[in-house]
């Protein structure tokens, strides 16, 4: 059962290889970045060991340790989820085909959780040294840290399994990923709600005091570690440990018995309600009512494909949720709300949504549905029609997104005036034409294979592409910037509209010239495009 065991070491080595192979073409870079990361964490641990003994009171040490342990808890539960969704984590269920007992698999799963929380262990070691050196803290205090670490590992094993099963359900997976992405906006929201100038030394402990009195694991561990109390926190933490072990083991066992095929079978389109299916079909067939074939059927296919691709659905939802969340506090935070940014909130969020969806809809419009590209070369259809079809679909989804942003803003309620709605549509439309022009060129010159079913993975954009985007975005925004400048300079809406009209004229010309070049490139680079798109989706693909 213990470590020099062939199976256990094989699994741990494989997990390490899977993580390192993620950057197999640049192994040295992976090692360098990993080394630097752990160096920084070790430096933070040394800092903790040095700072804690200098703290005046046991109460301040307690506050620091409580917050640290809480952050450690969140990190330990969050990182495994991140690894699962990025394809870097071994799925132990796959090992069921090999002669290995399920109990041993659980033991390995818990061991693997050490690898996802090494940073926390290093920081805890630093804190333990600091506590040992503090004259007011007892020597036995830090002995609670291994118990706290064990609780985290056991709980994390259960959380990971629970989330793996939840993430197998399409809608839930997108909601969870959206929630995780939205969490990244949390620091910004906190900073706006509580600006740094309002921070006081006692403020944090005041907030902590407001939390109901309950022996949370981090609170109990901190109390024991600093010697504030011993028996009650120890009993509480033992209780948490037992609960964590029960939760972790039961969830892991359920995960082993769980049959993903059954879940997928229940989500099959045939099992959807006929009314919903009919509504969807009406939506998909809209282009065929308005346009001739082959353009209509191309757009219809694009709409069907995009609305069924998890990755696009997530990006689309992010446009009118995450986009609003991250811009709202910046514009309407304390002391703001009346400036130019607040006045043009709708336009800003719409443009941000265009940037979010840009990679799928414009910059890599061949690579997102890469399997279809061969057909475009085989079927008797002009490549210009294919690109125009993709562009019209992109435009359709983008304008739909602006409509949804407007709807959400008016429901919240945020100030939404008719003229601003019109302006948001106009500006997004102009920006889209430039994005389509540049995107068609990028898609035919730098096609990248993407996995449409993976909700949260790197786009695979090369450094060259990212630099190009960094330059192109400001460039395509110039006409819009000029229109706003004209309105400010002449103080009239007419100037704004005239400059926008000129922008549309230039954009249309640019689009048709770029389309011709893109089609030419698509013809000439046929083999390179097909070869590039036939590669796996980078190294974490699958």
């Amino acid at each position: 059962m213990w470590l020099p065991d062939n199976q256990i070491t094989a699994i741990l080595t494989t997990q390490w290889r899977v993580m390192m192979n993620r950057g197999a073409t640049k192994v040295w870079l992976m090692y360098l970045l990993t080394g630097l990361w752990y160096l920084a964490i070790s430096a933070a641990a040394v800092l903790l060991a040095a700072v804690i003994p200098e703290m005046d009171t046991r109460e301040s040490v307690n506050t620091l340790i409580t917050i640290g342990l809480l952050l450690g808890f969140l990190y330990w539960q969050f990182v495994p989820v991140l690894l699962v969704s990025s394809g870097m984590s071994l799925e132990l269920k796959r090992l069921l085909v090999y002669p290995i007992a399920p109990q041993r698999l659980f033991f390995i799963e818990v061991l693997l959780r050490i690898t996802t929380g090494v940073e926390v262990l290093i920081l805890m070691t630093g804190a333990a040294v600091g506590l040992w050196r503090h004259p007011l803290c007892p020597w036995w205090g830090p002995l609670i840290f291994p118990v706290y670490a064990a609780f985290n590992m056991l709980l994390s094993a259960g959380v990971r399994d629970l989330l793996t099963r939840l993430l197998a359900r399409k809608g839930v997976r997108e909601l969870v990923v959206l929630g995780l992405v939205t969490l990244t906006a949390l620091p910004q929201l906190i900073l706006v709600a509580f600006p740094p100038e309002t921070w006081k030394k006692q403020a944090i402990s005041q907030y902590l005091d407001r939390i109901p009195d309950f022996p949370y694991p981090w609170l109990a561990a901190a109390q024991f570690a600093t010697g504030e109390a011993a028996l009650v926190p120890l009993l509480a933490l033992c209780g948490w440990l037992a609960a964590g072990a029960w939760f972790g083991y039961s969830q892991f066992q359920r995960g082993l018995r769980w049959d993903g095929d059954e879940v997928r079978a229940k989500q099959e389109p045939a099992l959807r309600s006929p009314r919903r299916a009919a509504l969807l079909e009406f939506f998909y067939r809209l282009p065929s009512r308005l346009l001739p074939d082959p353009l209509a059927v191309l757009i219809e296919k694009e709409i069907r494909f995009l609305s069924r691709a998890s990755r696009f659905r997530l990006t689309f939802f992010m446009g009118f949720t995450f986009g609003l969340i991250i811009w709202f506090p910046l514009i309407f935070g304390k002391g703001r709300g009346n400036g130019a940014l607040a006045d043009n909130f709708l336009v800003l969020v719409s443009v941000y949504a265009a940037l979010l969806m840009g990679d799928i809809l414009f910059w890599n419009n061949l690579g997102f549905d890469r399997k279809a590209v061969q057909n475009y070369y085989i079927l008797p259809v002009r490549l210009s029609t294919v690109l125009i079809g993709k562009n019209i679909t992109g435009l359709f989804f983008l304008l739909l997104e602006v409509g949804l942003i407007t709807l959400v803003c008016s429901l919240l309620p945020l100030p939404v005036r008719g003229e601003k709605v019109f302006e948001a549509f106009l500006v997004t439309l102009l920006l889209s034409i430039y994005l389509m022009a540049a995107g068609n060129l990028a898609s035919t010159h730098q096609p990248r294979p993407m996995n449409p079913s993976q909700s949260w993975r790197h786009s695979g954009a090369s450094a060259k592409t990212q630099w190009m985007l960094l330059l192109v975005y400001p460039a395509v925004s110039i006409p819009i910037g000029l229109a706003y400048l004209a309105r400010w300079a002449f103080d009239t809406q007419l100037a704004f509209l005239l400059v926008l009209a000129a922008g549309f004229l230039v954009a249309s010309l640019t689009y048709f010239v770029a389309l011709g070049s893109a089609v030419e490139a698509a013809e000439q680079r046929r083999e390179q495009i097909l070869t590039a798109l036939s590669q796996g989706e980078g190294l974490v693909g699958g």
């Binding site: 062939n6 094989a10 699994i11 796959r94 069921l96 002669p99 974490v540 693909g541």
Partner: protein
Amino acid sequence: MTPELTPAIEVEDLRKVYGDKAAVDGLTLKVERGSFFGFLGPNGAGKTTTIRMLMGLAPPTSGSIRMLGRAVPGEALDIKRRVGLVPDDTLLFDQLTGAEFIEFVGRMYGLPRDDTRSRAAELLQLFELDTAGRKLIGDYSKGMRKRVAMAAALIHRPELFLLDEPFEGVDAMGARLMKDILLEQVRRGATIFLTSHVLEVVERLCDRVAIIHQGRLVVDGPMHELRTGSETLEDIFIRVVGSGERPANALDWL
């Protein structure tokens, strides 16, 4: 009956239900030791579900499974030690190289590290995967993926092979190599349970065949008994799972 005399696989009234659909519906099957058993069926008939249940990846809704004289799941560990597997695509680790994967599988079967390394190197060479170098399985072609899975299945010299579409996407040279190796394994006494859509291959290799249709067993018998007169396996297959003839007026425009 001593374990050596029991059938390699014994399945009794096996059922697997997904939602309100039975993927496998009352399957009863016996595969004798040392036989080359072909398990056939049209798409969605329940072949892969059956293999997944045999491998312990999908728990049956009801019914019993015995393999190599031992009960599943009660004695699953002992069974797994003696079974080699070419699974469907999903059980490979895309982020490992071929060599890393075969080595991993060898160590999971408890082989000493040195043996694992030397056997992995030999298998890679035999299946012409040694040239793939640092290439990850995720970047392999379908044929290469099947070859690496077959190489991994052989590493611990199993008594029973469960092979799910092992020839899918494999080129003629690779398929010939795999067939020769499998026949060699049967000659040394191993049992092979094979699913395949390539009926000519099954006809040439297998000594016994079962056909499953809509989750139910519709044919089970020795190959020489099933093929009467000039009837080929394809004729039998089409006769039992559907006519394969289109309605009189269909595709008139073609």
